[in-house]
Symmetry: D2
Subunit: 346 residues, 4 copies
């Protein structure tokens, strides 16, 4: 058993990491760290652990974490993460960072979207943890940037058909819809029950959302082109799940069946991706509380467009589950150890 | 007071018609007709009327309706509607048909999407009830086809900027999301609580939904071009509301502010349309249970695209409310008589 | 038209007051007052008013309000309300207070539950605005304490059968369930979407909730006994609605039919109360966004108990709607002027 | 690995059984049986299994099941279950029946609530699978009646304090609230999204619900008295979870702390029951998708009453999870093998 630290344990992604490690066959829970809640009983902060996981939330101390654990998951907000990651890397620990701090490869793009980087000397050190497209580079990576939730849902759906030349790189639209848990645990009007329930709206439309460059970076790398994406996130009146509906111009009259075949070949050894039959409509409900991504393809000859759907649980394949998947690969475990549970439906 | 019949009163659209007529200053409730529930007390069929509206649901009898009422709202499914409409028109009554039977102008397109028409001799007789774009032709129309919910949300948003030449007619994508009430009152797996709640998916993607030709017809008429639209409906885990997120290529570097100004000029005398500030994100919650449509515009110079949002309550501006609006115009009342209530928020 | 001020307009109850006054046949909107949002455009603070109600939220100034309006609705939190109410009463204005500050008749009980009163010289001045049980005293009252949401739902159901001697005064249990809007607009963990959605729990069980003494006061007054109530509020994963399930020991083998007949006689001239048939199960959905209360009665001879259900919309009959009802009576209008809309269902 | 059959696999309880067996360390999936869906691909019937569990739903054949499996879970409706159970018992197989057919011990009570029994010769053969109160009798039972969801939630909360003489046996009220999944997978108005969402009501109040005698049977057995319970179920606008709020008269001024201590002693070796601190308010969200029951106690000296809360996931501890728990005991595995996952929160 490898002992792991979870930093930012009091947030929703942290809570999922705790739950997954608790049942993992090869990992065991080390310190649960959360500065703002330090000193409070674990079960009071994470109510699903009440009566099951004792002890207290702890304050971060890099030396203690490094002495106690070989690996740490860092689920802090961007900006706050880079420094903590750097301290743990300085002490030789493997770090899986769930923030955006190490996902981008261009310093300029990072600065434009996030401002000054808090550990510039480590910029560019991380392997990007979209397992299905980057598995090999993760085997020896000591710093892994776990992808964002929206990019995971969109890139898993688009990448196979873009790589295969079945869609144009120009003009891609990602119309994405996320559950409210993606907005985190901090209360505010944006996540206040009465103002979210029974309502639906977009936010940060027209390329204002920070996941835009992350999607573009992945698609550009895969296609070799300089891909620009129009990305529109929306907030769903539900807690978990992302569905990305991705539009692109078809090339060479590719059909839904052909796109499905390409994706199935690509993902045949990827236990977390399920390619549905051509013309299917995946529901976020079918992957909820699992590490599965479901993708599906449609063609519309009338308008010459492809539609690619990508559905995930934003806290699992979109965050904590994917982090465990990365850790499994890095530590030499079976890729889906501890994350192979079926979605609980309904 | 004009006495009106409501045919199909036991469905959700029928229920809203009853509610609106009940409070309308110039209309009064005539027979509530619903064949499958005929003979049952009104309050048992429509529980919000319990203790307020007495009597029974009645079976349809064209002569009785014609003798009793000058005008009828017909909220039956397509196919079932045309015959009833025709019987009432034969007797000289004004009919507002909320089905799809009289919305399309091409017999070929109707046949392709809906099959054989049940009253072919009246095909083409109706005025199309998208008030804001067709107000004048409604003043003397004895048969009005009330638009579909999705077309209302999309066309109100797209039409002003398409008419003004600010977007390309080619390549328009309408990514639409609807509450479950749009699926009607008949139980089925598609609307079963446990399989809809906390989940999200598309349905009839890639141009399979029957509202596609209705949207195309309106946009073609407005633009003078032969518009093809990629329309993707999705089902939201909530009861009411539609948000259409519409994508199109910008022409002449039109800005969100310019599109907003054009739409405001277009809708300045339209009490049911509210044009939000450039860059706003309308929520379905802000129009819920009102006859308002909220539209808003964004530009994305990075990809050269416009985004137009249209938000409505699918049962009101998308159905019953718009039908009352049409009736008001036909009968010479103030356009928003009985439908000027503010949305109840939250 | 009587011009009215709404103090605390930026909260949910305030928003409903604005909406109801906007459509009221005899009232017109005066200043919308909300200190923390003063200076912001109305449509920005209350998004359902966007494009419909202009102007800004204003800071409170007692002289200005008194000069402008004959009557004010005060929808502030308890404690904050008493002072404002007192200033307006000093200037001779009619005040409808929606807080708890003037509901209780015992200074000791007030102090025990709420602490020091902020306008002790006016304690006891108010008429209690449970219209159906106190209509006459409201006709000349210049200060009306609008009842709490839970007490309204429970007392309307229990009072007729308690007054008629059909249930024991001892041992009454009120198991109440409320939508989240009852918790107000201020964000916090208690109303954070992800922690409320798809979950259900009680809060302040075992007589810890401040509505306990208000229920007891009303039932004691009606029964002549010193009634103690076990009141347990729960939070429903939905925005609007309260259902109170009330248990009591049957006296004299009263049947559901007899209890129903007594309640119907009591409420026959009360347009806001609908007494369902014996053995019915009212849903909060059937009264949502209306000023209706639905009550229904059951008997259980096996255990010798009565069950009385009371269902309301907590923001309407439980707050803003009941306030308008009180104002109508005070001003000599028809009791349900402006609040006679049917519930919008579904 | 023990191979098990799941009969009634296409319902919600069946789906959970499949999911739990799929990940169970000592059980493996045998045939998935569902007569009405026989011949359809598993992943089409249970969408969370798409791409993970192949094969087809099968028709029931007692000989085949008996040849293939040592143990069968039977998740059929009452009435339909008894015959199937009997056929498998005739062939010597261990059967865990999740219907009500074998829960009651009195033939008269069964007949009164359910009508004629379909396997009268086996009436009384089953051990009752409320593990925490009947563990020993399950070790050798070949027919186990898995308890109902409501009884599980109420009895786990009430039984310790009733057994300890801390509450009166007379006058117990169970006010229970359940998620919609408890109503099963068959569509109908009672579970139609638009009529359930954002609404709340009771059903079968005043002792009309069939779980009443099951609760009474357990409490009578534990207390030695002839307990009558007033049981009122309500339908929550959410998919999973039951909270039972149980009221009883306190004896000997028992305090919440004393009741908590008694329950903790009782459940100290029961991994599925978590006794919260005195005065806590368990949420169904904290046990959702786990096999945990959370119970908590309150005293109210003002009215002389105790409140006992019991929260479970109705499909897990209320059905499929408890069935696995029973099977674990019967087969000699660790009691919580395969069902020790933490609740996924939020």
């Amino acid at each position: 058993m490898k002992r792991v630290a979870i930093i930012g344990a009091s947030g929703y992604t942290g809570a999922e990491l705790v739950r997954l490690v608790y049942s993992h066959p090869h990992l065991e829970l080390g310190p649960l760290i959360g500065n703002s809640k330090a000193g409070r009983p674990v079960g009071e902060v994470l109510p699903n652990l009440m009566g099951r996981v004792g002890g207290e939330i702890q304050a971060f101390d890099a030396d203690q974490v490094a002495a106690d654990c070989e690996l740490a998951f860092c689920a802090l907000p961007h900006g706050a993460s880079a420094g903590v990651v750097s301290e743990l890397r300085d002490r030789g620990r493997i770090v899986l960072d769930l923030s955006a701090d190490f996902r981008l490869t261009s310093r300029e793009v990072y600065a434009q979207w996030y401002g000054e980087h808090q550990a510039p000397e480590r910029f560019g050190e991380a392997a990007y943890g979209l397992v299905e497209w980057n598995r090999e580079s993760l085997r020896n990576a000591d710093l892994i940037a776990v992808p964002g939730c929206y990019p995971t849902s969109a890139v898993l759906a688009l990448a196979p058909i873009l790589e295969a030349g079945m869609i144009e790189a120009e003009g891609i639209v990602v119309d994405a819809k996320s559950g409210v848990s993606g907005a985190g645990r901090k209360p505010g009007a944006h996540a206040h029950f009465s103002e979210v329930s029974e309502g639906f709206r977009a936010y940060k439309a027209a390329g204002q959302h920070r996941h835009t460059p992350e999607i573009e970076q992945s698609l550009s790398l895969i296609s070799g082109a300089d891909v620009r994406v129009l990305f529109t996130p929306h907030l769903l009146p539900m807690t978990r799940g992302i569905l990305s509906t991705c539009y692109a111009r078809l090339k060479n009259d590719a059909t839904a069946e052909e796109m499905t075949a390409v994706a199935r070949a690509k993902y045949q050894n990827s236990p977390s991706v399920i390619v549905l039959d051509a013309g299917a409509h995946p529901s976020t409900q079918w992957v909820r509380r699992s590490n599965h991504a479901m993708v599906a393809y449609h063609d519309d000859p009338w308008t010459g467009r492809a539609i690619a759907f990508g559905a995930i649980d934003n806290l699992l394949k979109g965050a904590a589950g994917q982090a465990i998947q990365c850790a499994n690969i890095r530590l030499g475990f079976e890729e889906n150890a501890g994350i192979d549970a079926l979605a609980a439906w309904p």
